[in-house]
Every structure is written in structure tokens, then in C-alpha cells.
């Protein structure tokens, strides 16, 4: 069986899931949202964005929104419940890492 594209979950895919957790967005809006939530560190280009979207669609973690009567050429994407679940478990896993890091006292100061 071929290796699944999303295992392990690439961080671009994770950020796209997070971006869609708030609202349904089209490609460019996803890119902007990801940029914002990573404080400008991740700027998705078209190749990364749409190859991730394609993989997420195939795994049914996101879905393309059905047409509304107002109609628009841009495609909007929506998080599925499976996508939300995966994003949550991924975030929990990262939080575990953070707890471990905190226990090792690698942070200076008191934050996080």
C-alpha cells in the first residue's frame, strides 16, 4: 500500500486545517490566514497550497463547498469533522511536546 501523503501530517496541511477551523475560505484567503496565524513565517505558494488542498480533499479532511445561488468562480473549502478531529489531535500532540520541553526547562523566563 502506498504511503499516505498526510502521514505524518505536514505542517502546511496542519496550518490549512487550522485556517479553516474558523470559517470557510478560498485559496488566497487560506494563504492570508495561514500567514497571519504563523506571524508571517509561513507564506504558502500555489504549489504547496494546492497540493496540500488536493491531499486534504482526497482524505476527506476538507471539502469543497457546494455552489450557492449567488455563484462565484473561486472555490471555497470547509473543514470536515474528520479534519477538525485530526487538527485537534495534532494540536494536542504538539502541546504534549511543549509540556515535555517545559519540564526540561529549556525555556528562559516564565512564559508559555
Amino acid at each position: 500500500m502506498p504511503k499516505k501523503k498526510l502521514s505524518p501530517l505536514p505542517s502546511a496541511a496542519f496550518q490549512i486545517l487550522l485556517a479553516l477551523a474558523g470559517e470557510d475560505l478560498h485559496g488566497y484567503a487560506i494563504m492570508r490566514q495561514v500567514k497571519e496565524q504563523t506571524a508571517g513565517r509561513m507564506r504558502l505558494g500555489p504549489g504547496t497550497l494546492y497540493s496540500s488542498i488536493q491531499a486534504l480533499l482526497e482524505e476527506k479532511l476538507i471539502e469543497q463547498i457546494e455552489p450557492v445561488p449567488t455563484g462565484e468562480r473561486r472555490r471555497y473549502y470547509r473543514l470536515t469533522s474528520a479534519g477538525r478531529k485530526l487538527a485537534r489531535s495534532e494540536a494536542e500532540r504538539l502541546a504534549d511536546f511543549l509540556r515535555a520541553a517545559r519540564a526540561k526547562r529549556i525555556f528562559r523566563g516564565e512564559y508559555v
Binding site: 505542517s11 509561513m42 505558494g45 500555489p46 504549489g47 462565484e72 478531529k85 500532540r93
Partner: protein, 426 residues
């Protein structure tokens, strides 16, 4: 400029990816080019290219049914052409030279820094299999619907057989869901040369499009529209006596006639009128015609590629009490102005009744009638040959060109200036 170069670079991507996401990728570059410096954008684009290309070329074409069936990893179905290879070399060389001096200045993105190692946790709820038989059934149904409903029987025949030929050639193998729908849509428009064909997919279940929406849906629509003031965001007359109507959709007359009447009454005494459709994604043709009715002293034909000519395609002019019939009108457009809003812009422009200020519109003409193929797929087929009194083509895909081309953000100020100059001259 960036867009054209990128369109060229897109050839490096596998054909199945290009086919489905090429337009969207270009749109993204267009959007980013509007807001980012070219230098920054191109560094990003080239990094993106080297990062995404190997992954895409090493993965098979779109798949949804890999979970249980044995499968082989294949390279792209078509070998890269010489031009593509050349481009690849050029792009790589450029990258090598570009990244040496600036590589360590750039903020390192987290793209490669986090590599979680969990297995996918969604396999438990694997979707029902989408098999070759399903694909065949849908292609047959699509072809049959095209033959039955498309207005030009000869084109319908060639279009239907083109779908079957694509199936024979294996072009749909392993495609499912949205990817399959997008491929079909592309082939439909290619074969028919009619840009109004659409193919829709939902993971849920489509309603029966042959029936009108149930009453509870209509009640919900009405309530939602009233909550947002029927999409009239702002209606006012400024100090300069120029009326301003910001309308973000064309809601159904059945729900919003009163709101529309009071909006038009509020600007009735303006010396000039600006319709701001920069955030308007369209809606109901009946509202398009209703609002346009205020602007003419006799009925005018409001062309709409979806509908055959009926009584409703004519404005109900003159509207009793309307003082706007001889006032200058400006329509503000953006690249996000779609569908019904494009009809309003296009017809007023063609009738020489308004000056369009802003950007070329989005180019959405939803003129097909939707037919269910099964619960998840529906095909949009144009059923009438659009009779366009103005020119051979409408705004499908290409959009409506403004009379005065400025950035959407500058459109209001530009239109106000135009209106004031014109009013001073009178």
C-alpha cells in the same frame, strides 16, 4: 507580468494537477501580486516550486480509493516535454544563485521544522468506495443529460462522445469526488467550447434540483436576508449630492422588494448615483432588473445568458416617482464582482447608462440549469442559446471590462471625482 511567467512555470507541474488547480494557482499569484512586492513574491514562488514539484511528480494522479486495493506508485502520466525540462533547469539555476546570498537573511519558515509522526486517525471512518463502475455510471448519466438538454443537438453529440472518449483513454482513472467533477467540467467546456457548462460535487447530498426549494428553506432565506438589511450595506447621499448605494448581493425580490424600494427612495434626490458592487457576488436576476428599472424612462432589455427572453428580462420602467432616469450613474467593480452583479454592470455598460469604474469583474456566468446525476454529483447545462443583443460573448470567464480601469480600492474616490466634475459642468 508575474502572472504570465508563472503561467509558463505551471507547465512543470503534472498535467492532472495543472488541469484541476492551474486556474486557481494563477488566481493566487494574481492576488498575491496585488499585495506583495515582486521580489518577495518571486522568492516565495520559486521556493514553493522546488518544494512542491518533487512531491507532486512522485504521487499518482488523484486518488480516493487507495485504502484497500493494491496500487502502484506511478510517475506522471505524460513525460515532461523538452520545454519543461529546460524551464526546470533554468528555474533551478536561478534558485541556486538566488538563494546563496539571501538564504540566511530570510526568516526560516516552519515549513520544514515540524515533522509530526502520528499516523492518520481518520482511517476508521473510511468513505464508501468509489469504483470504476460508479465513474462509468456518472459519465453515462452526464452524457445522456447533455444530449437531452443542451440547446445545440450537434454540439451535444460531440460533447457527449468526448466524455466517453476521455473515459476510454483512461483520463478519469482513479479520480473521485471533487477532482472527478473538476475533470468532467473541464472536458465539457473544452469539447463544447461553451464556458457555461458546470459540474458540481458535494460530499453530502444535493437537494433535488428539479423541485423548487422547500418552504422552510425560503423562510430561512427571507429571515437571513432581512437580518443583513437585504445586503444593502450603506445607502446615503453625500455632501456633494452624490448618492451612494453599497449592495453586497442581489437578493430575491420575493424577500426584499420593500428594502429595495426604500433604498432607492433614499437616493431619489441625488444628482448622481454610485452603485458599489465591489463586494457583490451576485444573486437573483429579478433584483438586477428591479433596481435597473429606476434608471430608465422606458423598458429596456436586460440581457442575462441564463434565461430565454421573457417579460421579466425587461425593466419595468418608468418607475413612478423616480427622479433618477437622467442622472449620471457609476458602478464600482472589483475582481470579486460576480454573476448577477456582472449582469447589472454589463447591461448598464452596454446600454450606455452607467460608467464602470474599478477592476475587470470575476467572470462568473452561472447560466446552466442544474440536473442531479446522483446524490453527490450534478451537471449544469445551458438550455437556451443566449441571445446577446450587444456582442457575441458575455462575461463568462473573461469578466466585464470597466470603462475606467483603477484598483478596486481607488474606485470610489475616482467615481466621486468623475461625478463631481460632471455635475460642475452642468
Amino acid at each position: 507580468m508575474s502572472e504570465r511567467i508563472y503561467a509558463f512555470l505551471l507547465r512543470l507541474y503534472p498535467s492532472h494537477f495543472r488541469l484541476v488547480y492551474g486556474d486557481e494557482a494563477l488566481q493566487l499569484v494574481r492576488d498575491r501580486a496585488r499585495h506583495e512586492s515582486p521580489m518577495r513574491l518571486w522568492i516565495d514562488l520559486l521556493f514553493d516550486l522546488v518544494r512542491a514539484l518533487p512531491r507532486l511528480h512522485l504521487h499518482p494522479a488523484p486518488i480516493a480509493t487507495r485504502a484497500t486495493a493494491p496500487a502502484f506508485l506511478v510517475l506522471d502520466s505524460d513525460a515532461p516535454r523538452a520545454a519543461s525540462l529546460f524551464l526546470g533547469v533554468v528555474a533551478s539555476l536561478f534558485l541556486i544563485f538566488a538563494t546563496i546570498p539571501i538564504g540566511h537573511v530570510l526568516a526560516r519558515g516552519p515549513a520544514g521544522s515540524l515533522r509530526p509522526r502520528t499516523a492518520m486517525q481518520v482511517a476508521a471512518q473510511a468513505p464508501p468506495q468509489f469504483t470504476a463502475a460508479d465513474r462509468h455510471r456518472l459519465i453515462q448519466a452526464a452524457a445522456a443529460n447533455v444530449k437531452r438538454y443542451y440547446f445545440d443537438k450537434q454540439v451535444a453529440e460531440t460533447t457527449a462522445s468526448a466524455l466517453l472518449a476521455h473515459e476510454q483513454a483512461g483520463d478519469y482513472d482513479a479520480a473521485a469526488g471533487q477532482v472527478f467533477a473538476n475533470l468532467l467540467a473541464r472536458h465539457l467546456t473544452e469539447a463544447s467550447r461553451d464556458r457555461h457548462f458546470t459540474m458540481e460535487y458535494t460530499a453530502r447530498v444535493f437537494p433535488d434540483f428539479s423541485k423548487p426549494p422547500p418552504p422552510q428553506d425560503q423562510a430561512r432565506y427571507r429571515a437571513a436576508m432581512l437580518e443583513v438589511n437585504c445586503a444593502f450595506e450603506k445607502v446615503e447621499i453625500g455632501m456633494n449630492h452624490v448618492g451612494y448605494v453599497k449592495l453586497n448581493a442581489f437578493p430575491d425580490i420575493a424577500a426584499c422588494q420593500e428594502k429595495a424600494e426604500s433604498a432607492m427612495a433614499a437616493v431619489n434626490h441625488a444628482d448622481a448615483l454610485i452603485f458599489d458592487l465591489r463586494d457583490n457576488r451576485g444573486g437573483f436576476p429579478n433584483m438586477v432588473v428591479f433596481l435597473a428599472s429606476y434608471l430608465f424612462d422606458h423598458p429596456e432589455y436586460m440581457f442575462n445568458p441564463k434565461d430565454p427572453v421573457t417579460e421579466q428580462t425587461w425593466t419595468r420602467s418608468p418607475v413612478a416617482g423616480s427622479l433618477l432616469v437622467d442622472k449620471p450613474v457609476y458602478v464600482l467593480t472589483s475582481s470579486r464582482t460576480y454573476s448577477g452583479a456582472e449582469q447589472f454592470s454589463y447591461d448598464l455598460k452596454m446600454l450606455k447608462r452607467a460608467t464602470l469604474v474599478g477592476e475587470t469583474t470575476g467572470g462568473a456566468s452561472h447560466s446552466g440549469v442544474l440536473h442531479n446525476l446522483d446524490d453527490h454529483f450534478a451537471i449544469g447545462i445551458p438550455e437556451h442559446k443566449p441571445v446577446n443583443p450587444f456582442s457575441g460573448k458575455d462575461w463568462a470567464v473573461t469578466g466585464v471590462e470597466p470603462d475606467v480601469k483603477v484598483k478596486a480600492a481607488d474606485a470610489l474616490a475616482t467615481a466621486e471625482k468623475l461625478a463631481e466634475t460632471r455635475l460642475r459642468r452642468r
